[in-house]
Every structure is written in C-alpha cells, then in structure tokens.
C-alpha cells in the first residue's frame, strides 16, 4: 500500500500527462502481482465496494473525534476522504504493518454495511496519512486525481510496450486484478482468451479531410449519419449467448437500447450508427429522426414502453468486424462491404438497414453531392480507402471524415465557472481545449476557447452535475474538472493569436452539442484547428 500511496500522492501533484503516464508505467512494471492489478483497477475506476460510502467515513470519524471539530475540518479541507486521512487519530503503537493493496481490497470487499465502520477503522490504524488517503479514495470509488481510465490503460500499454487498442479489446472481458492481462503483456504469455465473450472492439476512426483530395478509384464515400456510433456484439452459445450494445468509448449501453439487444441473435460484431425512427430525414433512406429525438433516449438506465414505442431505435450499418465467428477485420473494406450487403438479409429489417455508398465518379462530383445534401441527419461524408482493413484507432490515409459544416470541432471540457444572473447557481461558463498531439502519447490539452451558450436548461443541469461530480481542483469560482466530457463546439472563424497558449482564438464559439458518448481522447487536436485558420 505504501508504494501505491506514494504513486497517488505524486499523481495528485503532477500536471503533465506525459509524466503521469511515466509514473504509472513505472509503478506497474515494478510492483508485483496482484497489487499492480488492483492498483490498475483503482486508477481506472474499476473497483466498487458497496459497503463503503462517504457517509461510512463520516460516521466512523465522528466516533473517533469530536463531531464539531470534524465538521470544521471537513469544511476547510473540502474532501471527506482527505480530511479523514489527516484527522485520523494514529494509534499509540507505532508498529503499523501496512496492508498490501490486495489485502486492503480483500478486506474492503468483505465488508458489509454493518461491519464497515469497525473494519475500516482497523485498516486505517495500519496506515500513515498518505496510505489512509489512498485507501479511502480507493474505497469510495472515485479517485478524482486527474487520471482517466484511458490514461491508466495507456500507461499499462506503455509499461509493457503493447498497443493500447489491444489492451482496450481485452479489457472489457477481464476482471481485476487482470492476471491474464499481466501474463500476456508483462510476461509474454498468450493473449487473453476472449472468443466467446461479447467484447467491445475499439472502433476504427477517421481523420478530418481538410485540404486532402482523394481519388474515387481508391476511396468509397458514405454518408456520416447524425446519431451515435455503436458497436453491436453477439457472442456465446445457448445459455451463455449475449448481445451487447457499446458506445464509442466502449461503455455498455445495452440497457438503454433493449430493442437492439433483442434484434441480434447471430454471432457477430457490427459497426453502425444508432438512430431513432422518425420523419425528419425521410426519403429513400428510410426515416430517421433528428439527433434531438435520439437525445431523449440517451443516458437512461431503464426505458419505458412508451419511449420504445414513440422513439424506436435502429442501427444503420457501416461495417462488419466479425460474422458467425469469423474475424473479418483483416479483409479490405470492399470485401467487408460485400459481406455486409449480403448478410443484411439475415437481420430484421425493422432494426437494421445499410448505410448506402454514395456513388461518385470523381472527387468533384462527390463535392457537388455533398453541397446539395439535405437533412439534419447527415453530418457529412466518410471516405474509406477501398483496401483498408479494419484497424482500431486513427490511421492516416485510411478513413477520412468530411464534415458538412467544417467549423465544428470536438473539444474537452477543462474548467467551469459559475454563471451570472439566473444561472449563478450553475456552472455554466466553460473553458475547453484540444490536444496538442496524440493524447495516448502523453499530449496535453490546451485551452482553445470559452462558451456560455448553446445548450438547453435541461442540458445545463446535466453538465452542472457532471462538473460537481468530476471536480479535481477549485480556484475560487472556477472548477477544474476531470478531462472527460466532450463538447462539439461551433464557431464563426478561428485566428492565430499570440495571447493564447494554444496560439489560437475562436470567434463566437458556442456549444453545438454535448457528446456524452465520445471519449475525450478522440477529441480534436490543435493541428486540426490550425488547419482551419484563414488569415
């Protein structure tokens, strides 16, 4: 536990992502099993101890110290776990025998609501203030030290020189302390066996097209639909068969879209856009409603019958990664596309259709089609190299996105400030940033703009809650948040500016859409914005 506590302490005071990656990687290399696996779980929010709540800590402390002194201290420190770690009366006996991380996890897991207060106290007695802080942060779930799950996985990949996409792929089928993962990455063992599990495969992503011109002989074009990108996975046989719906970040959103779970019962991994039936985008493509209609259905843990009836979901397929147990990812896009066109007949048409290929002989013809495209459900075009295999992440030259409205970028929320007037009780002024390089290689976010508008009251409440639950630092009225929430930001123009660290200044930025589904590391990079500068 001491080593882990020292790591947590150092991470708290480290701002550079690169240094954070190096620190975590070093810890993962040097710490024995199973401690490092538990630590990795703690850093990636993969631990849950239902018996230990913030209130457990409060009640425990009020038993040991005067309740008024506790409250005064808690108000000053602002964080229950930290305050408790500082205030805990150390036992007279100095021989502490600090527990290992594994021992602490075992003890925390065994606790019940009834035993938690006593057991937690005994653990705290064995630790120094740093150890107590790490333990309490771990016990209550959220570390809130500016380390995202993605950062932890990237550090793991860096520690053992494996690809983070492979880590992501295995991750969802494994449980802490991830012995299979360490056997494979750290000890050169076989990769984890995940064939019969409904696992998420990291998405293949596109680069912005910008000034590039491609030949339509090499590339095929598809519409980019305005829903949420999902992956449907069905795996296992008989009793063990299971279908899952994953969001872009690999979150399991099956419960939100139960109709899609029921719609797939063939072993497969499919990539497509989840949309809601409607008339907004009519015509031959079949009716898809606007994004707003879909928005109603996002983020729900359960869905009412009424909602299922009024806003039924379907998936417009882009790609097939696996079909009836056969991995198709290595095939060129054209072959996969041919398979997809055939297999669509085996899927219920009530819940699946095909994203059609946009026929254009030349790039100019395609540009003209793009200009004349109508309908809110179309975000732009995707250009896919006809011979591209399905590769996780963004690989230059394979896929491009050609947005219809180029002055839209995905940014990550960094700071939030209270508004004024009727919004003074909400965090409604946002500073957001873009990556100054590859976030998986330790790039940092640089602020690129601020926005106060573009969201509904309902959304404001949700963002406000997100800010409060993800605060990692307070500067007077300003909160620094975990770098997790993506905003699609619209702006009128962008200019070079010496006054800003990013070298950029946006004119009239506003929040175009809140991308709850998009992982932060997929937000845009400074280079993308630089390419938009027109002066």
């Amino acid at each position: 536990m001491e080593r882990f506590a020292a790591l947590i302490d150092t991470l708290v005071y480290t701002r550079s992502r690169n240094t954070k990656l190096a620190l975590i990687a070093e810890y993962l290399r040097e710490t024995p099993d199973p401690d490092r696996g538990w630590a990795l779980a703690a850093l990636s929010d993969g631990l849950d101890f239902p018996a230990v709540k913030s209130s457990t800590i409060r009640n425990l402390l009020k038993e040991r110290v005067d309740p008024i002194l506790w409250t005064l201290s808690r108000d000053f420190v602002g964080d229950t776990a930290e305050c408790a770690s500082l205030l805990w009366p150390a036992p007279e006996d100095e021989t502490r025998h600090p527990p290992s991380v594994a021992e602490a996890v075992e003890a925390l897991s065994a606790m019940t609501r009834k035993t938690a207060i006593g057991e937690l106290g005994r653990l705290l007695d064995r630790l120094d203030p740093s150890g107590r802080y790490a333990l309490l942060k771990m016990a209550t779930g959220a570390m809130r030290i500016g380390v995202s799950a993605r950062l932890a996985k990237t550090a793991f990949a860096q520690a053992f020189d494996v690809s983070v996409d492979e880590v992501e792929e295995y991750w969802h089928g494994l449980a802490p302390p991830y012995p299979e993962l360490f056997d494979w990455a750290a000890k050169g063992g076989d990769p984890p066996d995940t064939e019969n599990l409904p696992l998420f495969r990291p998405f293949m992503l596109a680069h912005p097209l910008e000034e590039t011109v491609v030949s339509m002989d090499d590339y095929a074009a598809e519409w980019k639909w305005d829903g949420i990108r999902v992956q449907l996975v069905h795996a296992g046989v008989g009793e063990d068969a299971e279908t899952r719906v994953y969001s872009r970040s690999g979150d399991d959103i099956s419960a939100t879209f139960p109709e899609m779970v029921d719609a797939l019962d063939i072993q497969a991994v499919l990539d497509g856009e989840l949309l809601v039936r409607g008339t907004h985008q009519g015509g031959e493509e079949g009716g898809a409603a606007s994004f707003n209609a879909l928005q109603q259905r996002l983020g729900r843990k359960t869905v009412s019958k009424k909602m299922l009836r009024e806003a039924p979901a379907f998936v417009r397929l882009y790609d097939v990664l696996q079909w009836r147990g056969e991995d198709l990812r290595a095939l060129p896009w054209s072959k996969r596309r041919a398979r997809l066109e055939k297999l669509i007949g085996e899927l219920p048409e009530t819940h699946f259709d095909l994203s059609r290929v946009v026929e254009a002989k030349t790039f100019e013809e395609l540009a003209a089609i793009r200009e004349s495209s109508r309908g809110d459900a179309i975000e732009g075009l995707m250009l896919k190299r006809r011979d591209s295999p399905y590769i996780a992440g963004r690989k230059t030259g394979l896929w491009y996105k050609w947005k219809r409205d180029p002055l839209l970028v995905d940014c990550v929320l960094m700071y939030a400030q209270r508004g004024s007037g009727k919004r003074s009780s909400f965090f409604s002024d946002y500073t957001f940033g873009c990556w100054d390089g590859d976030p998986d290689k330790g790039a940092d976010l640089l602020p690129v703009g601020k926005a106060y508008s573009g969201f509904t009251d309902e959304e404001l409440k949700k963002i406000d809650r997100h800010v409060r639950q993800n605060t990692i630092n307070r500067f007077g009225p300003v909160r620094e948040t975990e770098k997790e929430l993506v905003f699609e930001v619209a702006f009128d123009s962008i200019h070079a500016s010496k006054r800003h660290k990013s070298g950029l200044a946006m004119r009239f930025p506003r929040i175009h859409r809140i991308r709850w589904d998009k992982p932060a590391h997929e937000a845009d990079r400074i280079e993308t914005l630089l390419a938009m500068v027109r002066d």
Partner: protein
C-alpha cells in the same frame, strides 16, 4: 477597585492598553505601538512611537521605511528597542516585557503587567526549533492572547528534517532541472535556507531579487545562510541542479521562465492540504510553517495554563471548541487586518 482586566481591551484594530494609551500590533497608525514581529499583518509604518525588539525594528525599517519621509515631509517617528527579557515601563504603570516567540527573527511575545494582572500577547509563534531565532519561552500569565492560524486538528507539521530531505532528494533525482521554492520573504525563506545548510547542503542557493535584502539583514544579525546568488546575475544553465528561492507570488509568474525547467515547490503549512497545493500548481509541497500547529497550540495553552485565552486570528472556532471540551475559558477576538500570511 477596577474590574479585573479592564485596563486591556481588544478592539477591531488591535489590543488597546488603556492606561498607557498604547496598542499591540495595531492595524492602523497610532501614536504609540507595541509590535510583536515584522510581518505585515502585525507591523506597519506610520506610528508615532514603535516599541519592538531591535531585530523587528530593523526589519520594519527595511520593509516599511518607518523613519522615512512621506510627501508632507519627515514623519516624526521614534523607535524604541527592547531586547529579549527586557522590561520597559509604559505610561499609567504598565510594564511590557519582550519574550522570544520562536516565529521569525526578532519575534516576541509581549508580557503586559498591570495591577498584579498578567497578559501575554503571543503575536505569531511556534514551538519547533528554528536556527534563525531563539525558541518560544513558556511564561505563566492570566490571559493568553494567542494566534490560531493553523487552529484545526488536521494540521500537524511534520519534522522539518523530513521536508528538507524530500526537497534534497527531488533535487538529486532531477539534476538537469532546478527546484524553485516559494517561501515567504520574511522568515520562511531564511529558515529554509538555514535548514538546508544544517542538512549539509553547501551549494550556492539562488535568490529572487525580492529576497536579497531580507537575507542580508538576517546575515547581519548573525544567521549564516551560506553562499547566496541572485538569479539575475546568472544564466539559465548555471542553475541546473540548484535550489532557487522566490516569494510565493513569483511561483507561477513569467519571471520563472528564466529558470531551467523548474520543479515548483512551496514551503508552507497549508501544503498539508492537497487542494491548497494544487491550487498553486505546486508539484513538491513542503509542509514547513513558522506557526504553531494544532498540537503546539493546545500544548501551549496547557503549559501556560491561563485563566482565559483570547484568540486573535486564524481558525478560532476549532480552538474555541477545544477550550470548551477541556473546560477552559476562551473568547475569540474579531480583529481586522490580520491575515494568514502566505504561510
């Protein structure tokens, strides 16, 4: 016979000694002032007569130019030095004795005696050893007017040796960078430097320009600080692997761009709370304070064992609560102009 302690009265701008018409650490200019130590929330210029230790008077002269002229001409000012252990008689039969407080160079508790009653105003103090000033002396009294800057039970300052070792280890771990230590310009900076010397660190230490005069003043008063260099006299590369000391306000300032990839450290009791350290973008928090921590505060009250404690500034609520829990008399004084210092 007069009411007990009716001769001394806490008022918003300081502690008023009525028979002497004098004030302790007044926050505005008065004709006659007794000053405990040189920090800005206790000492200020403009008084007619200032009674303080010779060291404190020298500090005040340097910082507030107490004897200087203003726009209207020379301010008539009289400095009255009182050495530690020395007693002076004020108007109205009040005796004032200056006793070491262990806070910074020249810092004193002031023992006031009148009509057989004893009141001690501690100013700021600590109970830990400090190579730059004599240690706090426990002196019995009826009323102890104490500070409470770190008056919460979460504050326990670790041994300074541990914090200095942390600093030196980080310096050795990253020899291509420098460690920039933010430290309050009066007291903290010199104590950190003196402790580094005590730990055997003989290399030159680089100073922000604002630190120089106070360090020289300490040296003139016999505090050995070793070789000190001004940042402005050297090149970036000269400072790699070295310690640089600056006021806390310069930590995140443009000024620090002239340093070789500085590791930002800050020496302060507030560094005990992670959030405080993060707010200042501190990478290396050093929990070093010139104030009493919680245990020192309550130990002092227990040892002095006064009839009543008066709490001047800081987190007085918790210290009041402790008095209540241990059946001791206490009251909080609402004084203005006292702040936490950057300590």
């Amino acid at each position: 016979m007069a009411q007990p302690f009716s001769w001394i009265k806490p008022e918003p701008h300081g502690i008023h000694i009525l028979p002497a018409d004098s004030w302790v650490d007044p926050s505005r200019a008065v004709p006659h002032a007794l000053v405990t130590h040189g920090h800005a929330d206790h000492a200020r210029g403009g008084h007619g007569e200032t009674v303080a230790t010779p060291e404190t008077l020298a500090i005040m002269e340097l910082r507030y130019r107490t004897g200087a002229e203003d726009d209207l001409g020379e301010i008539s000012h009289k400095a009255v030095p009182v050495a530690y252990g020395e007693t002076i008689r004020l108007k109205g039969g009040v005796d004032a004795t200056y006793i070491p407080a262990g806070h910074v160079l020249g810092s004193a508790q002031i023992l006031l005696e009148h009509a057989g009653e004893k009141v001690i105003v501690t100013g700021d103090y600590k109970r830990r050893p400090d190579p730059t000033c004599p240690p706090f002396q426990v002196t019995p009294c009826d009323i102890l007017v104490t500070e409470a800057t770190f008056g919460l039970p979460i504050f326990t300052h670790p041994p300074i040796e541990d914090e200095i070792a942390k600093l030196l280890k980080r310096l050795a771990d990253e020899p291509d960078r420098c460690v920039l230590v933010g430290a309050y310009a009066l007291g903290k900076a010199q104590r950190v430097i003196a402790e580094l010397r005590r730990a055997g660190h003989v290399a030159p230490i680089y100073l922000h320009g604002a630190m120089e005069k106070m360090c020289r003043l300490y040296e003139e008063h016999g505090v050995d600080l070793g070789e000190l260099r001004l940042v402005s006299d050297y090149k970036k590369d000269d400072m790699r692997g070295h310690i640089v000391v600056c006021p806390p306000s310069a930590l995140n300032d443009r000024w620090s761009r002239r340093l070789p990839e500085p590791i930002t450290a800050m020496a302060s009791g507030w560094m005990r709370v992670r959030q405080r350290a993060r707010q200042r973008n501190v990478e290396l928090p050093l929990i070093i304070s010139d104030h009493a921590d919680w245990d020192e505060l309550i130990r002092t009250v227990e040892e002095v064992n006064p009839y009543e404690s008066w709490i001047t500034h800081g987190r007085e609520e918790a210290l009041l609560r402790w008095h209540q829990l241990t059946q001791r008399r206490a009251r909080a004084l609402a004084l203005v102009g006292y702040d936490d210092e950057d300590d």
